[in-house]
Subunit: 307 residues, 2 copies
């Protein structure tokens, strides 16, 4: 199966209570690609980079089978840059700097060779660009997954709602679900959001795990209690990449398989936070991932007899 | 098996974003008794009440098999009164009024008929009084479970640490675990707290579920995503009562059975929050509880093949 991913490829400067980096590779599409390429070797990336994006990073992605034909390279501009500072709880952060750079003129083009892909992962990006990619596809993918964030709800809500009508799965965190729906109860929020378009809603809750809603069904996935959360940057994108990677590999879009995909995504995200940037994602092997997934199985297993 | 419970029996005034009550029966021991008496009919209560505590409430507890011989009745004083206001997230609250009343002179006496009980639930109460009850027991119970709160960490930390040395299971919420250990990571916090005495630590995370730690093992229980959380007052005590009630009924203090007990406690707590005070706890039947437990099983079930 093949997967198109759309999103940013960027530099980040990150401060956490445990350290800081001034310049490390980041971006939603970068993290999605590192995660998804553990499961399929036909990740077709759509993004934009400037003249400063490291050649080694390009090579590292290509070696993992990530197709970068859809990544526009702008010779006279810099890559998108984001800088943020995390609070102690690691679930909230302040954005310090956002330099759009190449992203200001990004107009994603779906290469002809990408047409016919079964899966589409819309990483966090301006909703208008997410919609543009959907509209360029000649055949509707089997599953469209959309990630987004509060920032777009603040400044581009109408566009975001247009995209929502065309996607199957939406990924947001708990405060974003509340903002988007105007409901505090996540159960009520999920119902309102699913009325906006997506049949499936995943609500990410950071260290508290994730919820999957579909019709009247709900599934709760835990997050692994970690000794250290070093840097949460990219954890959500990595979760998304693991999720869609598993779905694409198994070619199964049932609710049951999505539950499994969430565990896989959670396992991948639990590695991501162990080091700054995508560094940890480059090190892990299939054995590491399987061992981590087994920890998740252990974490939630219990027996109960209703007598 | 028989269970001694110690804690407050009180009146509460509660404001939540969804309503308010000026005077409703509450108290840690009240909630524990309502929850635990679903599982065993030998709950031996130790508490203190004033001349204002309603006769109907006494009868309602006695009808459930709760033994109130250990409840001191003070003729010329009022019952303990607490008033609080919940924030929108329902996980945080401000205490508005605390009138100790009878609680100021409480000196719990373990009735002779309570001696030899296999299980002891120390509901939230001054640590000194919790310790006094432990010290009065002629035979060490099979399992001692202690609930406490940040208030005692602020004003009676040394006493609290003395109790900790003598208990098997500690129940706290996530911010209390952080306060008690001085560690932000809950994994590190659990290790430090278990060094203080308890072999088992349960960290309650409200709408995010609960974690059980024991040696190097960890178990994560979800909370049921609820349409409405009407009033969280007593949810922690109800959780504790369901937990110890299941343990006492099954007479099994293994890690595996504690996992089950946490699911049972979570199910009970999910009812408690549906109405103000312990009202909902009086209505529910065994069938209701079993159905709710089944929802928990559904909520976390997933299949995974590591191929």
């Amino acid at each position: 199966m093949s997967l198109i991913t759309v999103g940013t490829m960027a530099f980040d400067a990150i401060q956490t209570p445990f350290g800081k980096v001034d310049r490390i590779v980041g971006g939603s599409a970068t993290y999605v690609a590192y995660a998804a390429s553990n499961f399929i070797n036909d990740v077709k990336q759509i993004s934009i980079i400037g003249n400063d994006f490291p050649a080694e990073e390009i090579q590292s992605l290509e070696k993992r089978g990530v197709n970068l034909d859809g990544v526009e390279r702008v010779a006279d501009k810099k890559s998108f840059f984001w800088s943020g500072k995390y609070h102690m709880d690691m679930n909230t952060r302040d954005t310090l700097v956002t330099d759009l750079n190449v992203l200001a003129d990004f107009n994603p083009i779906v290469p002809e060779s990408y047409q016919g892909s079964e899966f589409l992962m819309l990483g966090n990006l301006m909703p208008k660009l997410q919609l543009s990619v959907i509209n360029q596809l000649k055949v509707k993918p089997k599953l469209i997954v959309m990630d987004t964030m509060n920032f777009w709800m603040d400044i581009a809500l109408d566009d975001l709602k247009e995209v929502l009508k065309k996607v199957d799965v939406l990924l947001v965190n708990d405060s974003e679900a509340r903002q988007l729906s105007g409901e505090f109860s996540l159960v009520k929020a999920s119902r309102k959001i699913m009325e906006m378009g997506p049949q499936f809603l995943i609500i990410k809750k950071g260290e508290h795990g994730a919820l999957l809603f579909h019709k009247n069904h709900v599934f709760h996935a835990p997050a692994l209690p970690l000794e250290e959360v070093f840097d949460p940057t990219g954890a959500g994108d990595t979760f998304a990449g693991g999720f869609i990677g598993h779905i694409a590999k198994t070619n199964d879009i049932s609710f049951d398989n999505m539950k499994t995909a969430i565990i896989v995504g959670s396992a991948l995200a639990s590695f991501c936070v162990e080091k700054f940037g995508p560094e940890r994602m480059k090190e892990i092997t299939k054995e590491d991932i399987d061992a981590r997934i087994s920890e998740f199985v252990q974490l939630v297993s219990f027996d109960i007899d209703l007598v």
